[in-house]
Symmetry: C2
Subunit: 347 residues, 2 copies
Amino acid sequence: MDGIVFTTDVRKELHEELKPYGEENVFVLTDKNTCKYCLPLLELQMMLPGHVIVLDPGESYKSLESVAKIWTVLSEKGAKRSSVLVNVGGGLVTDIGGFAASCFKRGIRCINVPTTLLAQVDASVGGKTGINFNGLKNEIGTFSVPRQVIIDARFLKTLPRRQILSGFAEMLKHGLLSGKEHFSKILALGTGIITGENFLGLLEESVAVKARIVEEDPTEKGVRKALNFGHTIGHALESVAIKEKMEVYHGDAVAMGMIAELWLSVMKKGFDRALYERVRAFILNLYPVDFPVVSLEQLYELMLHDKKNEKSGVNFTLLEGPGYFTIDNYCSRSEILTALKTLPFFD
Amino acid sequence: MDGIVFTTDVRKELHEELKPYGEENVFVLTDKNTCKYCLPLLELQMMLPGHVIVLDPGESYKSLESVAKIWTVLSEKGAKRSSVLVNVGGGLVTDIGGFAASCFKRGIRCINVPTTLLAQVDASVGGKTGINFNGLKNEIGTFSVPRQVIIDARFLKTLPRRQILSGFAEMLKHGLLSGKEHFSKILALGTGIITGENFLGLLEESVAVKARIVEEDPTEKGVRKALNFGHTIGHALESVAIKEKMEVYHGDAVAMGMIAELWLSVMKKGFDRALYERVRAFILNLYPVDFPVVSLEQLYELMLHDKKNEKSGVNFTLLEGPGYFTIDNYCSRSEILTALKTLPFFD
């Protein structure tokens, strides 16, 4: 895992990494919440005035306007190609900051300091950046690998439970993609999740699952699509939630997406039905099921828009079993509607 | 020169290239002038309604707003990752279109059909994309190589002379970078330039000079900076012109930049003074010298902002002689002011 550091002293790692840059070349992007709870841990007193850019929190700020704001600061404060943007925050911050950095003067370096479980295990690793546009998630973005990702699990201790769950959905996904052994350890975690004594080891294993897949296929032409498991339906649910201004977390949507896409796997790939039932119960026990009321047809329409589709129809990653995935499965409208009906809010 | 085609039948080449895409996947970006004069040559009758995006012409439209307009059309018309954007026009269109394509759904393919000499010889080749931002040229952009560049010199015949001159400045630059033999042929062209019987061969040679340098260093970490010859001062002049809303062409600014940067080369690298005088006279004979009145200090400030500078100071490519260039020369403020005084409008 080149460029990914696990540490219990993020301050030391970050200061070490920033040493070669002059203070005039260091910029920090964060959001209001992170600024309050996490930034003090970094002890960035040496930052020049105006070099800390603070976004408002929330998915609606994952916008072109936020990116323009970042570009304006970088430009006005004289950032150079040799400058660095340190993204401190959740996936929203690392996604926006990564995108802004990848286009500023045709690309400056960035360092990610993910402070949520979701960002640690997913968003900050793998080089996908993006913003929402025209009501669609990550419609605009780039592939751009951060120079360094610094992961310190101490940030997790102050996170609300729903935030932990949001990241944990990706760990579940990595578990399903990697094989029975790792997946069993994940299912064995108590409902406290990060209080489990195996948690730190599992976090590192989980990031390694993603890093391995991304390394094989950085720009998602093939095997990387596996990481999309649960996300085709998950993203559609999330898009609806954005439109309805409901507070649905990424992981909530992905967890539901995984239930439905596992059911497609049962129907089309012979995924073990008993294990499906176990995973479904596990997810429904952990995750809120308070989703926007929306018609199956509307969800299907949104899926047709998913950027993973290369031809008409909707493209899924499906599983034959834990660790055995197949990409580029196009499912029919009726198969998809059947799968959606496994979700409790379509009962 | 992979991916660059010289043809006298652009229609045929383009239709061939577009065959594998369904019509729903083909989008064209152009501007109002190109739409009128050049698009008919392409016979794109099969385009779906709304799939031709027409920008207003002019540097002030090389903006984030134009990019947002393109993204909105692509998104609303359901463009997919497997869609293609065909950029038909000058450098403005290929720069904006290239940028828009490189970020839409994290990157879709584009094909460039450059219709001006400047775009044929420079902008559409080499994978630099960009828009102006915060009053600075190409402040935002990406490195992203088009899938195909189709060059048909027939487009040049309808171009106004100033447009020809604008592209020709880059050919002069390629001449200086490539060596005495090619450069002599360029200096030997009559003032009609494209009417010279060697012109087509020289155009292809000129593109090859750039393609060779870019291939060695696609993201401008080293040797590609050579292509910046004339542009450090040229860009500063152009930025002033944008602010003053004066109609200065890119090539006009670069031609002046080359005079001043050749003088730096004489002072610091022993470039032959007689040849310098010859090039200066050649340029002043061809190019308009109607530049905005601006203080030397203002220009110097703008250069300090140039994205090519990696440390403080201003970074130049300088020449020991035709074909012998050195990159990363930091010149002092007083050297730069002296060089600027070689320009007629600072007399």
